[in-house]
Point group: C2
Chain length 326, copies 2
Amino acid sequence: MTHEIAVIPGDGIGQEVTPAAVDVLESLEIDFEFTEADAGDAVKEATGEALPQETYDLAASADATLFGAAGETAADVILPLRTAVDSFVNIRPAKAYPGIDAVRPETDLVFLRENTEGVYSGIEDRLTQDVSTLTRVVTESASEDLAEFACDYVSDGDHDGFTIAHKANVMRETDGLFRDTVKSVADEKGVETDEVLMDAFATRVCLDPEQFDVVVCPNLAGDVLSDLAAGLVGGLGLLPSANVGPERGLFEPVHGTAPDIAGEGVANPAATIVSAAMLLEYLGYDEESDRVHEAVEDTLENGPRTPDLGGDASTEDVTDAIIERL
Amino acid sequence: MTHEIAVIPGDGIGQEVTPAAVDVLESLEIDFEFTEADAGDAVKEATGEALPQETYDLAASADATLFGAAGETAADVILPLRTAVDSFVNIRPAKAYPGIDAVRPETDLVFLRENTEGVYSGIEDRLTQDVSTLTRVVTESASEDLAEFACDYVSDGDHDGFTIAHKANVMRETDGLFRDTVKSVADEKGVETDEVLMDAFATRVCLDPEQFDVVVCPNLAGDVLSDLAAGLVGGLGLLPSANVGPERGLFEPVHGTAPDIAGEGVANPAATIVSAAMLLEYLGYDEESDRVHEAVEDTLENGPRTPDLGGDASTEDVTDAIIERL
Ligand SMILES: CC(C)[C@H](C(=O)O)[C@@H](O)C(=O)O
Ligand SMILES: CC(C)[C@H](C(=O)O)[C@@H](O)C(=O)O
């Protein structure tokens, strides 16, 4: 069976790290068919559109999409692409790698972020000169889908349960619905949960990250709290993510376009290659996924390393070293 | 001139640290008249109301209010009290004190948090069984008030300008209005600003807190990001805050009721005493305010210390030591 993979490198170092991840996927004995498409600042400059219709359609029909990064147009690219693949959850692991400088090296968290609604609904109005509004939407159905996914995720993995992070003391109806729905699905399935206010989470995760493991949260809470965790493990540079839908998924590093080093061939491909490992797992290639994870960890620990980690290797050197270790 | 001060100790250690701060204020040669009132879980248990009307009225008419903490009913108490004093900004300093364990000891930030709107508008609906909504409100007028305050704040203090933290790439109309309004007020007044997305702020402040100084943000962003900064400086325990309105203010420690140690007489009064120092400054007693700040810092550094900081002194011992050093 052939798996169709859309490849959208985007801008800046996206153009360097995305091909590196494709090289890794190609080195495995799996029948992939890769199709590349444009998105981001450069294509907007050329055509007026940050996300051309054919790119959207490709992501909406491929089995999985590998995305690099986009610059100024990031929101115009990534938010519609998440819709294109119908992804209801964004999986964001934040783990400190051995040998990498981290504020909190003991951090090892996975965020399961609601990926369709909340303040990302896009419903905004300027009612008067003075007053603007945004309608934040929280549905029982999206909260249920996320909760069911979270229950399977902790049962399949080595996790005791999950923490629900929310702000239901202020957003009583909406985050109340989110919290109650997620908790009741988990209760039915016999999965343990606890809960924490998102502001208290921000304090507590700095003081003692090991008290948390899997964290389930609304869209914006997931955005901010996972970026906070990224800070604790030493930056966005090494973090992968997966936007998962029922039939397809979109896999992307959490980092941006790194304009300061773009074009020099020294971008660290690790986050995109680990995102490709998440793609493999999504398609059912668990064993291959594990091998890629291990090869990346081994390479991060023992080199070669790109300049961001104090080395002088190129993107290609690191990619080759990872492929050799597979 | 007599200053009327409402004193609302609330629940848990609020009952211990609030009288300590009153002792400090009483030791100064200023004509204060203190009136105490109830709020929180205990009064709700007794009367059915977490915030009795007479407490609200007292805060709404006093020159300043000193608040301790409330338990489960915190939101029912503190949100209406912020309205009672008509406070449009919440000032939240987050500074690591010398000699106190901190994840990032170099942290020295002040958050100026919008205090009236955003997702705190309280407008929520359950439209159908499936769909709930919250209307997030951002107004030009509230953004202007905050911006004017922020400009005065940085000009009066030793600050080069301020950073605007927002999420206008997603909340384009509402946070766009916030960002543009704050920036245009600052431009007019010749105050320098830069801006950062709130998720990027969360990463960057962990990696290098010294790149930020004064941070101006919408209500929920201020809530979460200031709690994050609290984590970096070692917890909520030592952090004060001021809810400032045009004619009155409400001053409160950021910590909660600490049920585990409540009633033992060993709660650390520092955060509430520093909140009282912010009250002094608000009323124009800058010199007295400085003296209180210095006495607290001196005591934190040289003791006596309460058990949360590894000492074995009581709340009273620490309060007496601070008063002696005034
Ligand atoms: C670019 C932006 C719209 C996006 C988000 O807010 O989700 C980004 O911050 C992310 O987390 O992937
Ligand atoms: C108790 C709660 C309503 C409050 C808030 O969200 O503002 C608290 O977290 C705070 O920061 O003072």
